[in-house]
Symmetry: C2
Subunit: 133 residues, 2 copies
């Protein structure tokens, strides 16, 4: 049996992906794997780690309330988020990857970021792209 | 109740999108709308129309055998395929659009074509991107 894997980011589009991922995991009756990946290195200090922890606790609250069987993976390592997501999707035998598409302020125009493009092209399973409201 | 809208093209990735669209419509218990759009104009003559008709009859066979409630829309008009798909998705109250991503021969490298990018960015509902095997 497969899984639904969500590429989470602490932004509106990441939240939209998470909400959709919960819905799809319920619909398919499979486990949800939520991946939040940060690149390590100098940008990621203790303060950033604390903020990330707070975000994850909110995500955990949402997941706990959803009734879905889930696995929350927080990764801080040197790879690109797209690589982390692709490798976890393969490990998890994903039948679906859910990602959020970014809205660029202030004009609100959408762009297809390089991470989204890489996931769409590299994924070994279908990729569902959602936008924030 | 929504629909699942498939952007069909008579290629391997279009077939993959159709097969996935049938699966998703069944899973969600909604109607499937299959859109095959050609640009009109000088490239589209009677011969091309005949070939398109043959393709559509194969598609119809697959749909008839699927048990899914469907609507097959063949469009020949002046708009870009991405525009046709987006407008039919809106008319049909789509909850999901399914598209196929193109594989570029002979190296088999995937590219994100301009149609796929426009659909991903312009769609008012989630877009599921699949690849041919």
């Amino acid at each position: 049996m497969g899984t639904v894997v969500v590429g989470y980011v602490p932004k509106a589009e990441g939240h939209a992906a998470l909400v959709k991922g919960i819905e799809e995991a319920k619909l398919r009756g499979v486990k949800l794997v939520v991946v939040n990946s940060h690149r390590g290195g100098s940008e990621f200090d203790e303060r950033a780690a604390g903020v990330a922890e707070q975000e994850m606790s909110k995500v955990k609250g949402l997941l706990d309330g959803s009734g879905v069987n889930y696995d929350l993976r927080q990764l801080v390592r040197g790879f690109e988020p797209a690589e982390d997501l692709a490798s976890i999707a393969q490990e998890s035998d994903a039948e679906l990857i859910v990602i959020g598409l970014r809205r660029r302020s202030p004009v609100g125009k959408l762009i297809l970021g390089s991470n989204a493009q890489r996931i769409l092209l590299d994924a070994h399973c279908p990729v569902l792209a959602v936008k924030a409201d």
